[in-house]
């Protein structure tokens, strides 16, 4: 942020009076520009013993597999956002079952909220951001080709729960990648 979105003058990064952290403050009109984490919403679309994954047609992680998910829009409920993303990325319609997992990804200011969902029919096909869309049984999940660690963590938890038949609501943290230990960095 270089300029005030209200008046167009320059901003300074400093502590507003009475605040305990620095913000972008307009030195002309006085507006303080707060910046907050963004919520990513998505789902695990189930069809009996299979789940739907999308192969990404965009970067980051072009060509890798992921669950449908994306930024929550203004005016949208979290469940509606998860359904919209599933429709956009997989042209698939789902019924939301329940919230399933929340992951903090603090180092990129994102909070992921994933739902369990039921695929309403098998008339799905790749949306503009997907190369292909496919149903996978647990044994066929391309674990080495999953796009993001948060998706990997969600899927591991999901299949562990499916074996017991008991689903709860989980929270976890995805830590900044450590180049010395690329597999580490997930806290439950």
């Amino acid at each position: 942020m270089n300029f005030c979105s209200n008046c167009g003058q320059t901003v300074a990064f400093k502590k507003p009076p009475g605040d305990d952290r620095s913000r972008y403050c307009c030195e002309s009109c006085g507006v303080v520009h707060y910046q907050n984490p963004r919520l990513v919403v998505g789902c695990i679309p189930e069809a009996s013993d299979r789940i739907l994954l999308c192969r990404r047609a965009i970067n980051p992680c072009y060509g890798k597999w992921t669950l449908p998910a994306g930024f929550l829009e203004n005016g949208e409920t979290v469940a509606a956002g998860a359904k919209r993303e599933t429709d956009e990325e997989a042209h698939a319609r789902v019924d939301i079952i329940a919230p399933y997992a929340l992951y903090n990804i603090c180092y990129v200011n994102q909070i992921y909220l994933m739902f369990r969902a039921r695929l309403k029919d098998h008339n799905f096909h790749a949306g503009r951001e997907s190369l292909e869309v496919k149903l996978f049984r647990e044994n066929d999940i391309p674990w080495e080709e999953i796009a993001f660690r948060v998706i990997n963590a969600t899927l591991l938890q999901y299949f562990a729960d499916r074996r017991t038949g008991r689903f709860s609501f989980y929270t976890g943290n995805i830590l900044k990648p450590n180049p010395d230990s690329p597999k580490a960095g997930i806290e439950n």
Copy 2:
């Protein structure tokens, strides 16, 4: 938003190419300024059969009672944000027990995430945004003096669950107030 925060030139509210909704787009440097809902995090601080409420020293709802809650900050986990807000508003330290309820307040682009929490000690006192901070038994809750409908909904659910001893994770929607029916507008 009137000006581009990147280059300081004017913005137009229009659909970017390939998008399906209007955004603030800079006509000079081309940056699209996405705007997304903000997450409010807070908790229900428990001390045996009582819970802690704060009487607001600021508007909106000056003088009304609320649970400690506020906007999640960049770089913060949702649980850390709920603890920080409790410390700021009530100078109270809590252990987070579990996520408890998520409410969509779409008409103001806010998502509330409330936790259950355990008060660690009784050394609390009003923070700068509170007039007073007090422990209440269910029978003493000032129901007619609760600041926000989302707090009212959280407390009603909480006391209903406490009677059964079974706590789950809830989602609900706080709808735009209807002047003809001010008490309505909460969907579970």
